[in-house]
Symmetry: C2
Subunit: 122 residues, 2 copies
Amino acid sequence: MALVRDIMRTSLVTLSPGETVETAVRIMKENNIGSVLVVDAGKLVGIFTERDLLAMVAGGAGLDKKLGDVMTRNVVTVKPEDPVVKAVCKMVEHNIRHVPVVDDSGAPLGMVSARDVLRNML
Amino acid sequence: MALVRDIMRTSLVTLSPGETVETAVRIMKENNIGSVLVVDAGKLVGIFTERDLLAMVAGGAGLDKKLGDVMTRNVVTVKPEDPVVKAVCKMVEHNIRHVPVVDDSGAPLGMVSARDVLRNML
Ligand SMILES: C[S@@+](CC[C@H](N)C(=O)[O-])C[C@H]1O[C@@H](n2cnc3c(N)ncnc32)[C@H](O)[C@@H]1O
Ligand SMILES: C[S@@+](CC[C@H](N)C(=O)[O-])C[C@H]1O[C@@H](n2cnc3c(N)ncnc32)[C@H](O)[C@@H]1O
């Protein structure tokens, strides 16, 4: 049975809640990624994705807003020893395609995306 | 063997190349979707996703640009009778998560997303 830790990516892009959306946008573009994890005192506190950017742009919000004000809190996560299918269930149930992997203290260890799951299917 | 037509979604959101990105953003937000298909004379001519929006915002481009100027042409597609695994291969190979379904004339019939594949896995 495939476990999350077997397929997760461990190179993470994280920002602090005090950073601006403008910074997040630049980092996401430079790294060609669709989401950034927001970390405070070593703990995962939020996620900001290109879908959140779409909502901001549609609403005319300024990019100088702090990540802490616009990120999604209550991040859906998995543990490294969870089976991959558990990550898939969460993706489908919550309509998300990125599931951060955290340890028991809430510190981010990696990320599992829909693409990682599909690539491993092949 | 699961075929694309068994899992594709057929309610499509399409726009013309002459529409602006501002319109696309509004439509995407209203429909809670991450991509729109660009259709000209009944044929699929491009795709515009939230990743393209990220690139535009990062580059400071105005939202009054026409879709035809910023969309991705050479859309990666599948046919309804293709096996689902073919769509998965294209998603992984091209790093995309939306694969439009077209008929032999290039007219859009539906869309397969990574989420559709994963939901069907469960
Ligand atoms: C409901 S999803 C729908 C779109 C698309 N499937 C995606 O994942 O972006 C978009 C929202 O989910 C949030 N989100 C993405 N991944 C998340 C996760 N692991 N936990 C909680 N929220 C998440 C984003 O911040 C965004 O506000
Ligand atoms: C290379 S993907 C990487 C990010 C993410 N996986 C996604 O699908 O958006 C982003 C680029 O691919 C393009 N794209 C998305 N779906 C496509 C498809 N079916 N055919 C061709 N290009 C596509 C988008 O327009 C965008 O410029």
